[in-house]
């Protein structure tokens, strides 16, 4: 085994210190070492988008990052977005528009949609579709996902909800 790397990493506001094997993927670090299984693992080569998280506020594929790289950085996973009682506006829109069926792609869709709407708050329908195109839904429930993101974009624009994290 290669020499472990010591990291300080902040995940959903909480700081952890771990010694990690260099080859440990961030997705496995989150799921196995921290027990944050909301981040789903689909393809492990950056194609399906299920494992999308935020690193220092920007969306990234956690299967294409090593935990060892993230010393001093801040990660947000789907667990850090909201709670059942106080959902993130995009989560709320997914709930209201039936934008999930089996739920496997949902965490990645949420993280992707939030980063998209933060960077393009006035996203057109086409930009929303383009923005979600890197995330696969195995139930093929794309129409409702697009509708939910459209609704979330409009709600966030109206300013009647808290700002997207």
């Amino acid at each position: 085994m290669a020499k472990p790397v010591s990291i300080f990493i902040k995940v959903n506001g909480r700081t952890y210190q771990h010694a990690v094997e260099p080859r440990l993927l961030l997705s496995d670090f989150l799921r196995i070492e921290l027990g944050l299984t909301g981040t789903h693992v689909g393809c492990e080569h950056g194609v399906c988008g299920a494992c999308t998280i935020f690193v220092n506020g920007d969306s990234a594929r956690s299967c294409l990052l090593l935990a060892a790289q993230l010393d001093g950085m801040e990660v947000t996973t789907v667990e850090g977005l909201g709670t059942s009682a106080a959902m993130h506006p995009v989560q709320k829109a997914f709930h209201e528009h039936h934008a999930l069926q089996c739920g496997f792609c949902t965490p990645g869709m949420l993280m992707t949609a939030i980063d998209l709407l933060r960077k393009s708050p006035h996203a057109s329908d086409e930009e929303i579709r383009e923005g979600l195109s890197g995330n696969l839904c195995r139930c093929t429930g794309y129409e409702n996902i697009v509708r939910a993101v459209r609704a979330a974009a409009d709600a966030l624009k109206d300013g009647n909800t808290e700002s997207a994290t």
């Binding site: 080859r23 299967c63 090593l66 010393d71």
Partner: protein
């Protein structure tokens, strides 16, 4: 689907990175954005003894204006290039191309140095560096050298980079004033690798084209320039006959592969369709610029 065992080394300078590459004697890999390297590691297509993380090297991510050129640091993320005012102003065709590079989460991480060093024949940045006559600055423990994009790409996923060398910056001449340009790509899904792609820059000189540059990808082992079609385009007044002659020469020049996504014949047809659209669009833009 998990990476093989390797050591991890985070370096704080180009000198430390090239020294680590030299010490690894061909068995080290630089980790920049990781958007191509990590999938290859996860598939175990690569088994380096050490990963040298260059993400913490300061001053390696920048977009700068240097008289008639734009210089881009190797660690510049795709997302930064996409949003750069300098790129939008002086290299609008590159700005357009960046919108086709993968997806937001990939663009947040992926770097220009990584994309060029990986040299995927169906990736946008290698083709754009060929189209725009970019110079690539390489550093090693021995010193530095500069190669043109045409000298840099040797084959699919193969470049002129030595084992102990790293790409540190890319220098691209600004487009001339009045330049018309176009970028036409077809991919199965938005953000996927291209089935075929054509990008063009040209100027209008009366009823003639001047400075024609045509880049193509997805239709060969490396991105390439359509030199014969470029020569045809400037050979006489631009009319339908000349456009179709250029398209026909492009279809003859390419040697595409058949794979899961498309047949060679389809790609050959497609690259011609895209070339015709691109020529007409670039001509229209150049016409507008010459009026403005």
């Amino acid at each position: 689907m998990k990476p093989p065992v390797f050591d991890y080394l985070s370096v704080a300078s180009v000198e430390a990175a090239t020294a680590a590459l030299a010490a690894a004697a061909g068995d080290g890999k630089l980790l920049a954005g990781g958007q191509s390297l990590m999938p290859m590691l996860n598939f175990r297509l690569l088994r380096p003894s050490v990963l040298i993380d260059i993400n913490r090297i300061p001053d390696l991510a920048y977009v700068k204006e240097q008289s008639d050129r734009i210089r881009i640091g190797a660690l510049t993320r795709h997302r930064t290039l996409e949003g750069s005012d300098l790129v939008a102003k002086h290299l609008p065709v590159l700005r357009e191309a960046m919108g086709h590079v993968a997806h937001l989460a990939i663009r947040n991480r992926g770097t220009i140095g990584g994309s060029l060093s990986h040299a995927d024949p169906a990736a946008e940045l290698p083709m754009m560096s060929m189209l725009l006559d970019a110079d690539l600055e390489l550093a090693s423990a021995q010193g530095s050298r500069t190669l043109s994009a045409a000298e840099f790409f040797l084959g699919a996923l193969t470049t002129n980079l030595a084992d102990d060398e790293m790409l540190v910056s890319v220098s691209i001449p600004k487009l001339p004033s009045g330049c018309g340009w176009a970028f036409e790509e077809v991919a199965r899904r938005s953000g996927d690798f291209a089935l075929a792609c054509v990008a063009i820059t040209l100027n209008r000189d009366g009823d003639h084209v001047s400075n024609a540059r045509i880049g193509m990808m997805g239709v060969g082992e490396t991105p390439m320039r359509a030199t014969e079609a470029e020569a045809l385009l400037i050979s006489g007044p631009l009319d339908d006959r000349l456009v179709l002659a250029a398209v026909s020469s492009i279809r003859t020049a390419v040697d595409p592969n058949t794979d899961l996504h498309a047949s060679a014949d389809y790609r050959r047809h497609l690259v011609g369709v895209l070339a015709e659209r691109a020529i007409r669009k670039a001509w229209a833009r150049a016409t507008e610029a010459s009026r403005g």
